[in-house]
Symmetry: C2
């Protein structure tokens, strides 16, 4: 199984390390992974017998610029077009930065690989948010696979849960605690009694919240994950405009205190349900009691709850944060494709 990596950052580096560390285990299962391409913004690395991972990982310990790595060819000549022309990969792993407005350059990378009968596994939310159905149909037409498990919660197997664990059942409701940053802020307010602004500062200090936290705290990250889950698992083509979105920026220490005194907790919940035969999609703060399976989802954890017709309720809690779990979720899709699973049916 030959792989080309397009877009190379922290998760890519963790992915290489994982493939290296798990080599024996994977080979015991009959999975032989060879990384032929690592393509960054200004050039890449290529070896049609597989890049020597130990050597490349050692190189990365002192150097960020992959174009300085010498493996035969000139770094600046190694690009996406060359990879398509050479036709020597089975799977493209797309990890370029997410653009939620245009989906580019991810959409183009994914589209052109699928058109060239190359399987795709991606961590890139943008293309899946904007063009999932088109890309799915393209994959289907070319009889290749499209793995998107990393795009909604990373290690949290939200997509897997809906596709594989509820195979044969109709999902009638999706509900989730899908954003770690807002979870952290709410927990911080609960634990220390501080106000929203101070909890946000603490999250920023710890590197959990970004300098511009609006995507997280205003609910857009939750909404985008809910949108992907809904479109993938309920066979629809909703957009962000179809979601009523509220964030957590107005929550006060008094709200939290009152919830606590009732033995309840606030969580930012994304929810899709059927109301009067139509899908209704919301992101908003909700007060949960301890019997709710999402009540205990704390800190950086995430969770999703499905209700289905024949397999009942299914709650999945998990989704360790960080580059290794994200990389492991990419590897999970690759392994499941290797085990024959058809994400694209």
């Amino acid at each position: 199984m030959n792989i080309g990596i397009v877009g190379f950052g922290g998760v890519g580096k963790a992915f290489l390390k994982l493939v290296y560390d798990k080599k024996n285990e994977l080979e015991n299962e009959g999975i032989y992974i060879q990384i032929n391409y690592i393509i960054g913004r200004t050039g890449g690395v290529y070896n049609n017998h597989g890049i020597e991972l130990q050597r490349f990982i050692d190189f990365l310990s002192n150097e960020k610029d992959i174009t300085k790595y010498c493996d035969g060819g000139k770094a600046e000549d190694i690009n996406f077009e060359l990879m398509l022309n050479n036709k020597d990969i089975d799977i493209m792993v797309e990890m370029t930065p997410t653009n939620k407005e245009t989906g580019e350059p991810g959409i183009t990378h994914i589209r052109r690989c699928l058109e060239n009968n190359i399987n795709v596994v991606t961590s890139n939310k943008g293309p899946i948010l904007i063009a999932y159905k088109k890309l799915y149909n393209l994959a289907k037409a070319h009889n290749v696979q499209l793995g998107i498990g990393c795009t909604t919660g990373g290690a949290l197997p939200a997509i897997n849960g809906g596709l594989m664990d509820l195979a044969g059942a109709d999902i009638t409701s999706i509900e989730g605690v899908l954003n770690g940053t807002t979870n952290f802020i709410l927990k911080e307010m609960e634990d220390t009694g501080c106000d929203y602004a101070d909890a946000l500062k603490e999250a920023q200090r710890l590197g959990i919240a970004e300098t511009n936290p609006s995507l997280d705290v205003e609910g857009f990250d939750t909404a985008s994950k809910l949108l992907i889950l809904t479109n993938v698992l309920m066979n629809t083509e909703k957009t962000m405009k179809d979601i009523s979105i509220e964030g957590i920026t107005n929550v006060t220490p008094d709200d939290i205190k009152r919830a606590n005194s009732l033995n309840k907790k606030y969580k930012l919940i994304g929810k899709t349900e059927i109301v009067n035969n139509e899908l209704e999609m919301t992101v908003k703060l909700q007060l949960l009691d301890p019997s709710n399976s999402l009540y205990g989802v704390e800190g950086k954890n995430k969770a999703v709850r499905y209700i289905s017709d024949t397999l009942g309720e299914l709650t999945i809690i998990g989704g360790a944060s960080g580059v290794t779990p994200a990389a492991a979720s990419i590897l999970r899709d690759i392994i499941n494709i290797n085990r024959g699973y058809k994400f694209v049916k």
Copy 2:
């Protein structure tokens, strides 16, 4: 995809109804299910063009004895041997009653089908408890699949979770609330303040506990599910003797009251973990606080929590009770096999 059902009771009947109800949906995905055999204790029904489900389901509404159904052949001539000889099925669904001592007749049915290159999906715990590794290796040697999702929690995707959702990660700990009856009894004691004996009586009155409840309340059912999960997901060959098992029969209303006053709850937990480089397996009552993801698992619900090296923690809560969810978990394995997934690698 032609199916032979061996062992026919409530789950079998629900399975037929499900295949009938989901026909269009399955066909949209390219899955054409035809039931060729339904084999009971004293005879069976056979149609090599597929038993007419609507007609057979109507027949069952007035009659339990399937040998009275007329579909050409003589019911008493239609048996397991005939099915093997005819070689006209792709999957055998084994649903004979569980025998946890011998595993029979399930083991023989499964073994002979695998030897004849027929895929197997089973709800029968006995064979998997006693002979999983042998049956797995047999399936591997004959390049066929063995689906066992129904054997540990029915609708709860415990096996799927470990195999598919944690693909590529090493599971280092398994912990679960795996028995609905003990869950119900503990909840009943908590809600009403009654003692163990009265809670058990109520469970029996509602048909949740059996007349002889010892398998459930003494922890053996939890232990047997833990054993299957451990052997399947941690690649070992433990037996029931390797598990330290305590049930819930000694719990008092005072214990429950004290737990409540601490805002905690008792659950019967089956757990496999690595202690001093060895697997340690226990079933015992444990006191959980609300931050534990198993805390909210109430009533007939079940749950399992895995800890893994690269994908972190994963908790799965669900597992609706009853014949339809159990049948749906059989159908889930059939669909995943149809989608190409290799449970046997």
